[in-house]
Symmetry: C2
Subunit: 191 residues, 2 copies
Amino acid sequence: MSTQARRERERAEREQAIITAARDLALTEGWDAVTTRRLAAEIEYSQPVLYSHFKGKDAIMAAVAVEGFAELATALVSARASAADPRQAVADVAAAYVAFAQQRPAIYDVMFTLAVDLPFASQDVPTDLARGFAELADAVRPVAGDDDLEAVAETFWAGLHGLVTLMRSGRLRHADHDRRLAVLVDRFSPR
Amino acid sequence: MSTQARRERERAEREQAIITAARDLALTEGWDAVTTRRLAAEIEYSQPVLYSHFKGKDAIMAAVAVEGFAELATALVSARASAADPRQAVADVAAAYVAFAQQRPAIYDVMFTLAVDLPFASQDVPTDLARGFAELADAVRPVAGDDDLEAVAETFWAGLHGLVTLMRSGRLRHADHDRRLAVLVDRFSPR
DNA sequence: CTCCAATTCCTAGCGCTGCTAGATATAAGA
DNA sequence: TCTTATATCTAGCAGCGCTAGGAATTGGAG
């Protein structure tokens, strides 16, 4: 039965097409422009087809978020790998994190601000999220000292996340971004 | 013409009723439950009346946010005022900030996550936001050193904001919250 | 006191959203 | 070739933010 195999493959391709369409639309026009009708038009199928792949629009957004976690993790891994010394590693990882958020704001939003519950119920996310988090943790390991490494890394992460989100919502001026990032990095760098 | 004065007063009362209804509804049932139809029912007027007071739903949310900024500023002022020593001041201000966000999550959301543009165009917000921010800045002043005080304070703020939002969206476990907060406070405390 | 003008307010409706029931077309197996 | 099962679409629901146009109420002038 190779026809069945073909149909399953086509179905998987269509599912990926939905995710990609949602991602592209969100990146270019923002999540408000991502409606089920536009997604359906994009993949050249009718609306209900979306619901045979995903439980609802939230699940589609969650799937985009899952891809985002993998991307972010990869970016953090390569940032730390190419750092010259431990102190530079913290700065490079921080810069890579911020760059990811600024270059793909819609993806960052769906990963950390929108779509609260869904991704964390899935299988893939904890893996890729942990993969990215491990890079942050390894970078700040030298400075952890007596404190719990996990708590230090999470706090460092929160600092990055706060800088990114506050700046993106206009609460912090763009101009002083580098200075603030330097302050944060300094607080979590070995001397 | 005291009738005109009465009508203006009644109009102002109705405007406040709209804000209060939106705030209460958001606190008890979340912002998704705050629809123009429910707000209209709450104040016992028809929908279009809302639009004679506010440009749209976003403006109503912004008005709730404005009240929130005043509340937060007051909480931070009293937290720092009652602190025993400079080191405790940082911890107390941080605790007050987090407590505000955790006790009124819907208000915090509309202040810092939703309603991107609107509040910052108004007059009141910069005042109350600056009032709250000044408390954070004064608390971390002893630790600023060579760095720009504003940048240090903004980074400290970002750390608090990051902890609050990541925890609320389920990205950080509640259990270790105190430990993370201690790490952040320690990084911004005079020794 | 009456009439007119201005203001205030509501009814009804538009275009959009996410989502779904029921009908239709297509493909597979006997 | 006929029947059954699967895949897909058409059409529609209830809700959203928002608004045009008419009805009701109020204020001032004659």
